[in-house]
């Protein structure tokens, strides 16, 4: 009997280890929660949350093309030539513009080369809320990657909306491989 319990415990431990590895392995490379320090201490919470600025004021390309884009430095100074001009962080912007050296932000969200994603398709055509993929940006002091951004995540959203299999093929064009991979 003891042996049986021992064997059972060993099996359970083995299974748990396996499950842990699988769970870990499934998150490899997806960087969920990635929140790198940025060269300018920009707060989305302040701008998008407290000040209720529209996302597309800065990320103005989001409904036009593939990339939402990071706002050009000049755009920041639309306001910050008047507002908080003494802040050391704001000064970095003016310095960049004066010196001609671009600010090198650390990129947070990332798709691999072989996955094509188009913001306009989602923001403009599908009229999705930015938060659906980017999370509660208005609460993020430091911006972080909210979702896994893996293929399963894309697919599941499409399935929820009925544009990917197992829907009938006539409707499920959103599940075609070459929607994203070409």
């Amino acid at each position: 009997m003891k042996k049986l319990i021992g064997a059972f415990v060993a099996l359970a431990a083995f299974g748990a280890l396996g499950a842990y590895i699988v769970v870990q392995a499934r998150s490899i490379g997806y960087n969920q929660g990635y929140a790198p320090d940025q060269p300018v201490k920009f707060s989305h919470k302040l701008h998008a949350g407290d000040l209720k600025m529209d996302c597309q004021y800065c990320h103005f390309a989001a409904d036009k093309g593939r990339h939402a884009g990071i706002p050009p430095t000049e755009l920041c100074l639309n306001c910050h030539s008047q507002v908080k001009t003494n802040s050391p962080e704001i000064k970095k912007l003016q310095e960049a513009l004066d010196s001609g050296e671009n600010i090198q932000w650390n990129r947070v969200n990332f798709f691999p080369d072989y996955a094509y994603f188009n913001h306009a398709q989602h923001v403009n055509v599908a009229q999705l809320d930015c938060k659906q993929c980017h999370g509660p940006v208005d609460e993020m002091e430091i911006y972080y990657q909210h979702e896994k951004l893996n293929m399963g995540w894309c697919i599941n959203c499409r399935r929820d909306k009925g544009i990917a299999p197992p829907e009938d093929h006539k409707r499920a064009a959103g599940g075609d491989c070459q929607k994203c991979h070409y």
Binding site: A25, R26, N150, M151, G152, W153, C154, I155, N156, P165
Partner: protein, 460 residues
């Protein structure tokens, strides 16, 4: 008591060998230092294997482009070798499974080596689908696992996926079949050896076998079940391999005759290879008492049969290509025989169809040197059969604009030689380290065809 001795039944083992001597004959080699011949053979095999591995490493690091393939001919030596190796991997299971079911007792002396050869050949075969991939490090994509990337599965309609299942099933089933058969002999080694080291190793390997009749009872049932499963399995494997070609659209591949044709060819080439190996082994290991001329002769008969079947298949293919009236089919076959690769076709015909016909003569069947030479021809011929099917069908298919020629590079040639290195390395290790003849089974047929081939109830 007057004992009946059948004239038809030739004894499988010389009458004077006792059970003890039989164990000694087979198992003492494991206790002795290796012979010079073995050492030489083993070293050459390891050398070839090493070169093969280096070449494969180079190929994987650089790209499939180091092979001679092109946009028209996507498979050639790689898949030729694959099918060839799978083919020769058929004899072992066939001998142990089908002959077991048919109660062919002569199989007992050769089934162990033949099965080992099967496993090694299938291992070699398995190498090629792996390394022929453009990105072998992603080979795990072929397994149907719940994918982290989303609901991405595999294509169960692809014959290549069938291959994955067939080859892995065949390899693992053959392996356990072989290993279960090894258990009693491993136990014998364990109990005979004086060396503590060997006792520990063989003790662990023999799973605690003690020769209990209860175990033997289950063992015999197990053997029958595995034989029963392996028989359709062995036929299915080459059938599925033939589906790689038969389900395609390429003229010369798209042929319904392929499953039986491939299976016959596999048995043919498998017996050829088993004979090649056994003729060497019986000589080198002094096992003439166990692997007798009778054994060789019986196998020669199988070779005539299957060789003729293969010949029939060649003829049928040609006939059907003509009879179908399909110009692409017709061209494909005319091109095989008279196109740029005519030499490969006629090598195949002479080796596979003509050379086995010599075995109609008993004298030739019993001449070991002659049999050996013919089996080499059979091996060559069967390799060319696959080359002919794969390469000459691909190189000129539907649109003449993409017709091309193929020639192997040194990388492919050395990979092929390396495969032989792997095969013989494993085989040499096997005959050194494991009982090369199923001793327990041979003991059980000792009295076959001998006096006293009947249980005695009372001691006289």
């Amino acid at each position: 008591m007057a004992e009946h001795v059948s004239k038809l039944r030739q004894p499988l083992v010389p009458e004077d060998r006792t059970y003890k001597q039989m164990s000694e004959d087979v198992l003492d080699t494991l206790e002795r230092k290796p012979t010079k011949a073995w050492l030489a053979g083993f070293s050459i095999s390891v050398l070839f294997l090493t070169i093969g591995l280096i070449v494969i490493g180079y190929q994987i690091a650089t790209g499939i482009g180091v092979w001679g393939l092109n946009k028209t001919i996507g498979w050639s030596w790689d898949i030729t070798n694959f099918v060839f190796c799978v083919g020769i991997g058929h004899a072992g299971t066939l001998i142990s499974a089908i002959l077991l079911i048919f109660r062919q007792r002569w199989r007992t002396a050769i089934n162990r080596a033949a099965e080992a050869m099967t496993i090694f050949a299938v291992a070699c075969a398995g190498l090629f689908p792996l390394i022929h991939m453009g990105r072998p490090w992603l080979a795990y994509f072929v397994f149907p696992y719940p994918n982290t990337l989303g609901p991405l599965w595999v294509n169960f309609k692809s014959p290549l996926l069938w291959d994955v299942f067939a080859i892995s099933t065949y390899l693992t089933v053959s392996l356990v079949f072989w290993y279960m058969g090894l258990l009693p002999d491993l136990a014998t080694v364990r109990d005979r050896t004086k060396s503590k080291f060997r006792k520990a190793i063989y003790g662990a390997l023999s799973f605690g076998w003690n020769g209990s009749t209860r175990t033997w009872h289950h063992f015999e049932v197990l053997s029958l079940i595995l034989a029963g499963l392996a028989t359709p399995l062995v036929l299915s494997v080459h059938t599925i391999v033939s589906f790689d070609f038969a389900t395609s659209v390429i003229p010369g591949w798209h042929t319904t005759i392929f499953p039986p044709y491939f299976v016959a060819g596999a048995i043919f080439s498998g017996f050829g290879m088993v004979l090649t190996l056994l003729i060497i082994t019986r000589k080198v290991m002094n096992w003439e008492n166990y692997i007798t001329v009778g054994h060789v002769e019986a196998m020669c008969k199988v070779i005539i049969l299957t060789g003729t079947m293969v010949g029939l298949a060649y003829g049928t293919e040609f006939f059907i290509a003509w009879y179908s009236g399909n110009p692409y089919e017709r061209y494909a076959f005319v091109n095989r025989a008279f196109g740029p690769y005519w030499w490969a076709y006629w090598t195949m015909i002479s080796c596979n169809v003509i050379s086995p016909q010599f075995f109609w003569f008993k004298k030739l069947r019993r001449n070991m040197t002659f049999v050996f030479i013919i089996t080499i021809f059979v091996n060559i011929g069967m390799w060319f059969e696959r080359f002919v099917i794969i390469t000459t069908s691909l190189h000129r298919d539907f649109l003449p604009s993409s017709w091309a020629m193929y020639s192997p590079t040194w990388v492919e040639i050395w990979t092929f030689i390396g495969t032989f290195g792997l095969f013989f390395t494993l085989f040499f290790l096997f005959i050194r380290l494991l009982p090369g003849i199923a001793v327990a089974e041979v003991k059980s047929v000792k009295r076959y065809g001998q006096k006293g081939d009947k249980p005695v109830n009372v001691i006289a």
